[in-house]
């Protein structure tokens, strides 16, 4: 119902104030009423005692000696007060105020020490109070009478409560008015206070609502914020900074990808446009179609690699660890490259140790090896050499792939793992190479907890070393080595 923090705070605080003020009002009213009634009863009791003091026993006869002028309330008919006197034993009515004019009062009386009180409807219908006393009438000669149940009397005086009721009524309305006013005032003050307290929150919310990609470079900085909001604002600032970095990286990458796709696309377009410019022999179309197919393959490889890289970067790839005898995997991966190596008259130097076993993900390492072999076969010089080595050294266990004929300057070696970076800028030599293979290798090796390093040595020998953390128990199966086993692929 109340979805905003402001309305919830306001309704909560105002409701609490109303409840508190209402309770306070009820308590004050009840206490005041009790005090006023106690005072009334004290006065009524005193009056009963005065009237009782006026009852005098003279030679066995009772007389009521008071001056009616001093007590006109017992004489009049309106707004009157009443009294009635009984013999305690037998209950004979001995006297009654003229104001009663034949009506009767209830007979009540406690012990002699204290009067008893009761609220009743008076003979004239008004709401009133009775005070009853039990007493011994005093003797006319002023002596204190001895207690005697036969002579004991009961006097009841009655007085209307209308004055008190009226005054208490006024007091009640005054209380209600005061409380109402206090509630209204506090609601106003609370609204102001809540608004003021919530202002930084509203400011933060407005800044967040107004954020777009263009604002990322600016710090979030929502003015002075209370301590409670500081962690939120700091986190948002931190988040924006990271988002900005991601946006910038993605922008650069998108631009690179567009660039990489434009070149094959322009090749495709140009080939088709030139072919369509005039009628040609079927062989010309066939040649051109083959060229187009090659370009499509290249674009597809680029997109596939991009997707693999994107998945790896989003950490959406699960690692399936197992024992991988690396020599077997290297041999398996080399098979598809035999023909290409043969065409280029490459000498293969196969220095693998069948005892090296890695604890890693076989399929991911296969991808790494395939990429490295593809690079080596593409960039090796005609008649050059490719060296494949397994290694167990301080850096861990793994393998190295090296090729001769590299023209990569040493200062460019650190850049070869960058996305879309190509050593010689040449698309022609490498065919399907699009500058993503080594980035992919690095991501895969990182994912598997290993390391990958490139080296460029004198004489155009370029090598890449891949190492994984050693697995102490299963690092080596047998002590046998097969070093120096040179296979001539031609």
């Amino acid at each position: 119902m109340f979805t905003s923090l402001r309305s919830r705070l306001l309704v909560g605080t105002v409701a609490a104030t109303v409840l508190l003020l209402a309770l306070t009002g009820v308590v004050i009213y009840t206490l005041t009423r009790q005090l006023v009634l106690a005072q009334f009863d004290q006065d009524l009791g005193l009056k009963a005692r005065i009237i009782a003091f006026s009852v005098v026993s003279e030679q066995g006869r009772l007389k009521l000696v008071y001056n009616p002028i001093l007590f006109p309330e017992y004489e009049r008919r309106t707004d009157a007060e009443y009294y009635q006197l009984w013999q305690a034993r037998g209950g004979r009515i001995m006297a009654a105020s003229p104001s009663l004019s034949g009506s009767r009062l209830d007979q009540i009386a406690g012990p002699q020490s204290a009067p008893e009180f009761r609220t009743v409807a008076l003979p004239d219908g008004r709401h009133g109070r009775l005070a009853g006393v039990r007493f011994m009438p005093r003797d006319a000669d002023g002596g204190t009478p001895a207690p005697d149940p036969e002579r004991e009397m009961i006097l009841v005086v009655a007085k209307g409560l209308s004055d008190i009721d009226r005054n208490l009524g006024w007091f009640r309305w005054l209380l209600i008015g005061t409380c109402g006013l206090a509630i209204l005032t506090s609601a106003g003050v609370l609204t102001g206070v809540v608004n003021r307290l919530l202002r930084p929150l509203a400011l933060v919310a407005r800044r967040i609502a107004g954020l777009d990609a263009a604002d990322l470079a600016k710090p979030f900085h929502a003015g002075t914020v209370p301590d409670e909001l500081r962690p939120v604002v700091d986190r948002i600032d931190d988040l924006l900074r990271r988002l900005e970095a991601v946006f910038a990286r993605e922008k650069a990458f998108t631009s690179d990808v567009a660039h990489e796709l434009r070149t094959p696309l322009s090749g495709l377009r140009m080939t088709i446009e030139v072919m369509l410019a005039k009628p040609r022999a079927p062989a010309a179309y066939q040649e051109s179609m083959t060229e187009c197919l090659g370009i499509c393959g290249q674009m597809q490889a680029l997109i596939d690699n991009l997707l693999s890289l994107a998945r790896l970067e989003a950490d959406k790839v699960a690692v399936d660890l197992g024992r991988v005898p690396i020599a077997d995997l290297l041999e398996e991966c080399w098979r598809p490259f035999v023909t290409r190596a043969h065409e280029r008259a490459v000498r293969l130097d196969w220095r693998v140790d069948h005892g090296v076993v890695l604890a890693t993900d076989r399929e991911k390492v296969r991808l790494v090896i395939t990429n490295l072999f593809d690079n080596a076969v593409s960039y090796v010089d005609h008649g050059g050499a490719i060296t494949v080595t397994t290694a167990v050294d301080a850096a861990g266990c793994g393998f190295s792939v090296a090729n001769s004929g590299s023209q990569l300057p040493a200062e460019q070696v650190p850049r070869i793992f960058d996305r879309l970076w190509r050593g010689d800028r040449s698309r022609t030599a490498a065919g399907l190479h699009c500058g993503l293979g080594l980035s992919l290798c690095r991501k895969l090796v990182d994912l598997l907890g290993g390391s990958i390093q490139a080296r460029s040595a004198v004489g155009g020998i370029f090598s890449i070393d891949v190492r994984f953390p050693p697995e102490p128990a299963a690092r080596r199966r047998t002590p046998a080595t097969a070093e120096g086993n040179v296979i001539n692929s031609t």
Partner: protein, 228 residues
């Protein structure tokens, strides 16, 4: 008109060269910056179509080097980057035009033609010599309003003379501009083709247009001027 294509991406380079040759240009092609520079220094090209990202020597350095050496060939830059700064940089370094990949072949052709006209200060794509009209856009030739069919080599030779109408064009200049680098240029091939052209263009009842300057070259003009 002689054109050099320097582009490392083989499919694009091959199609570009084939398309330009079929449009009547003499084309040399190169796949890297160093070789491209050697070609550009060895021959006088009317237009060089230059990719920016090249192996060995990038396009910008190649262009800078050529301009520093006073090479006046018109250069069209091909770039896969469409950022304004990339284009401005290329143009500032002395390129005459640029195209962002991928582009339409017809657009490249139109720009190459515009640059060849600029090379000879001819703003009008149709060059008139007397009643002979050479339309460099449609590659068509008319005399007295009658269309004359020419082979690609004949047209190329005539266009070369027409673009410099009234001026002496030497045999070696004709050889450079009209035949691609790999073609076999025998000693009298120019004279043979001039002979073919004369047969097709000259009319017995009309003034002679192709004039021979013995030992020097040829002049295409409505009236023969006195030899200097």
């Amino acid at each position: 008109m002689r054109i050099l294509v320097v582009e490392d991406y083989a499919p694009l380079r091959r199609s570009l060269s084939q398309g330009l040759k079929e449009a009547g240009f003499s084309v040399d092609e190169s796949g890297d910056g160093e070789e491209g520079r050697w070609y550009a220094k060895s021959n006088a090209y009317d237009v060089i179509v230059l990719d920016l990202m090249l192996p060995k020597l990038d396009g910008i350095s190649l262009l800078k080097g050529l301009r520093a050496e006073g090479n006046r060939s018109h250069v069209i830059i091909l770039t896969a980057r469409d950022g304004v700064e990339d284009r401005v940089r290329g143009l500032d370094l002395g390129a005459d035009d640029y195209l962002v990949k991928p582009f339409a072949f017809d657009e490249l052709l139109a720009r190459v033609r515009a640059l060849t006209r600029r090379a000879y200060n001819a703003k009008n794509p149709v060059i008139a010599i007397g009643d002979l009209e050479v339309d460099t856009t449609a590659k068509e030739v008319r005399r007295g309003g009658v269309r004359i069919d020419l082979t690609a080599r004949e047209y190329s030779l005539l266009e070369c003379l027409a673009l410099r109408a009234g001026a002496l064009v030497t045999r070696s200049e004709l050889e450079e501009h009209c035949y691609d680098f790999n073609a076999d240029v025998s000693s009298n091939v120019i004279d043979v083709y001039i002979g073919y052209l004369r047969k097709k263009i000259e009319r017995p009842d009309k003034p002679k247009l192709i004039h021979t300057r013995r030992g020097q070259g040829y002049v295409l003009a409505a009236e023969e001027q006195a030899a200097p």
